[in-house]
Symmetry: C2
Subunit: 334 residues, 2 copies
Amino acid sequence: MTTAQRPTLEAVARRAGVSRATVSRVVNGSTTVAEPIRDAVRRAVAELGYVPNLAARSLVTQRTDSIALVLPEAATRVFSDDQVFPGIIRGAAQELEAADKQLVLMLAGSPAGHDRVERYTTGRHVDGVLFASLHGEDPLPGRLARLGIPVVCSGRPLDGADVPYVDVDHVGGVATAVRHLLDSGRRRIATIAGPQDMVAGIERLAGYRNTVAEAGLPELVATGDFTRESGATAMRQLLAEHPDLDAVFAASDLMAHAALRALREAGRRVPDDVAVIGFDDIETAAYTEPPLTTVRQPIVQLGRQMTRLLLRLAAGEAIESVVLPTELIVRESA
Amino acid sequence: MTTAQRPTLEAVARRAGVSRATVSRVVNGSTTVAEPIRDAVRRAVAELGYVPNLAARSLVTQRTDSIALVLPEAATRVFSDDQVFPGIIRGAAQELEAADKQLVLMLAGSPAGHDRVERYTTGRHVDGVLFASLHGEDPLPGRLARLGIPVVCSGRPLDGADVPYVDVDHVGGVATAVRHLLDSGRRRIATIAGPQDMVAGIERLAGYRNTVAEAGLPELVATGDFTRESGATAMRQLLAEHPDLDAVFAASDLMAHAALRALREAGRRVPDDVAVIGFDDIETAAYTEPPLTTVRQPIVQLGRQMTRLLLRLAAGEAIESVVLPTELIVRESA
DNA sequence: TTGTAAGCGTTATCAC
DNA sequence: GTGATAACGCTTACAA
C-alpha cells in the first residue's frame, strides 16, 4: 500500500514552469491568466492528477464548503419508514451537489450527541447548519444563529428564536382534509394527534381544531407520537371513548395505517363506517387496505428549499422563511 | 452579526501563560503535562470557548477525522421506504459518534455525481470510504483501494475487486425461507427475483435456485428491481405463466407487498391458495394484509460493522470481510 | 516537563 | 498578467 504522495500546487507549478500563485488562479478559475499559460497549467494538473487540499484551502479562506444536517434521531422513530428524514437528506444532497458542497450528517439523539453537534458547529467546521424537525424547545438553533452561524430549521423553532425556517402548510393541509370529511357528510370526526412537543404535531392538531370548531362539531382527540404503535393505541382509545365516530384524521400516515387495522379489528369498515385520512403521503399509503387518502407534503422539496436558503444565507444574502403547500390525495379510505 | 473572532491556540496559550505546544498537548490529551498546568490550560480553554480548527489540524496530521458514505441513489429506489439506506446511515452514524468522527454523505446517482465522489475521495478529503450496495460493476471501490484509500463495501464487489465487504447471508436466508415453504407442503414455488446487477439480487436468486433444485422442483422466475411496482408486474406475469403456483418468494418486502395485493386482485387467498415470503423485514411487513412472513436482515448492524471495519482499516489493521446472519420471521402469509 | 520553531498546502496582497 | 511572500491555526520533532 504505497502512500502515494499527493501532488501539491508546488509540484504542478514546477511542472508547468509557473508560480504557485498562477496555478492557484487557474485552479480557481480566475480569468486573468493568459490562454497558453492556462493550458499548460491545466495539462500539468491532469498529468499529475492534482486535487486541491481542502484543509489547506479552508485554513486560508475560512470556508469549509460543507454544511451540516442535524437530525434529532429520537430513538427508533427516525429512520422508521416514514421517509421524512430520508426525504430531507435527499433534497439537501441534491441541492448541495449542484453547489459542489458536502453534506455532513449529524445525529443528535443523546445528550452527548447534542453536545457534539454544538462543539462541531460552533467550531466553524461547517459553513452552515440545517436542523430537521426538532423536539421540544431546542435552544441550539437560536444559539448558533446568535453566534452568526447560518442556520435554517425545518419548521418554526418552538422556543421562539428568530431563526429562518422552511415548513409545510400543516394547518391548511389538515383543514382541507377535515373539510373533505365534512363534505362527505361525516359529523363525528376524531383525530389522532402527533406529539405536542413538535411543530408538526402542534400545528396539525390546530388545523383539526379550527376546522371542526368552525363546523360547530365537537373535538374528539387522542394523541400519538407519529408511530404505528402509538396510532393503534390511540385508535382503540378513540373507539372506546367515542364509539359513534364516523371519521378519523391521523397526523401521520403511519398512525393512519395502524388506525386502519385497529378499525378492521373492531369490525368497522373503511370508509363505509369510518373514513380515514392520514398525513405525509408515504409510499405505503397507496398500498394500505383500503388505499389511504392523505395530505401530501413535499418533503424532498423541503430539504431542497432549506438548503437553498442556507446557501444564500451563508453567502450573506437576507432571506425569508418559506411555507410550502400541501395537497390532499384522495384514495379510497375517505 | 459580529464575526466573533474565534480564539486560537495562541490565545489560549497567552491566557494560561504557557506555550502553544503545551496547550496543544492538553487539548490532545497528552499525559506528559503537569497537573496544575493542565488545569490552567483547561480553564483557559473553557473561559475562551476554544474549539480547535480542524482544517489546521488536518493540514498537519494528514487525517480528516471524517469518512464518506457513498450511496448509489438509483433514482427512486434509494430512500423509498425499504429502509435499507436509512438503516446503513444510522448504523454508520452510531459507530462514528463513538469514534468522534464525522459522516460525509455522498449520493452518486448521476455520472457527474460519480465523478464528484471520485475527485473528493481520491483527494484524500476523507479518511475512508463506505460504499452502499452498488449497481453493476462499479470500478470505483477497487480503484480507491488500489490508491491505498481505506474502503469497505456493503456486499461483495461485482467486479471481483479485492475490497473488504460486509454482507448478509442472502443465500442462507433464502434457503431457509424456501424450505419453510417446502415444509408446509408447497410444491409450485415461484420467485420474484431482484435486479441481476446487484449482489443482493443475484444471491437471493441463487439461494432460491439451489433450494428448489435440491427438492427436485422446477424454477418459476420473474424479475423485478426491488420496488413495489416491479413486484406487481412480476406477480401478474407469474400468475399468467404458472397459474398453478402455490407459493412465492419475493426478494424484497416491497415486492412481496405488491405481490400480496396482486394475488388478492387475482382472487387468490394468502396463505391458503398461495403462500408469500419476503426479504428485509421492513416495518411495514408486520402491517400488510395478511402480515408478511419474511427474512430479516440486520441492516443497522450492517452499517455499524462496515464502519467498524473501515476505522480499523484506516488505523492500519488487517481486516476480513464479514457475513451477517439472517433470520426467518414467520407471520401469517406463509 | 515545557518551549522553540519548522512546516502542512493553500490563498491573497502586494509589487513588478 | 505573473511572481514573491506573508498569513491561516495547528502538530511535532528537537532543544532546553
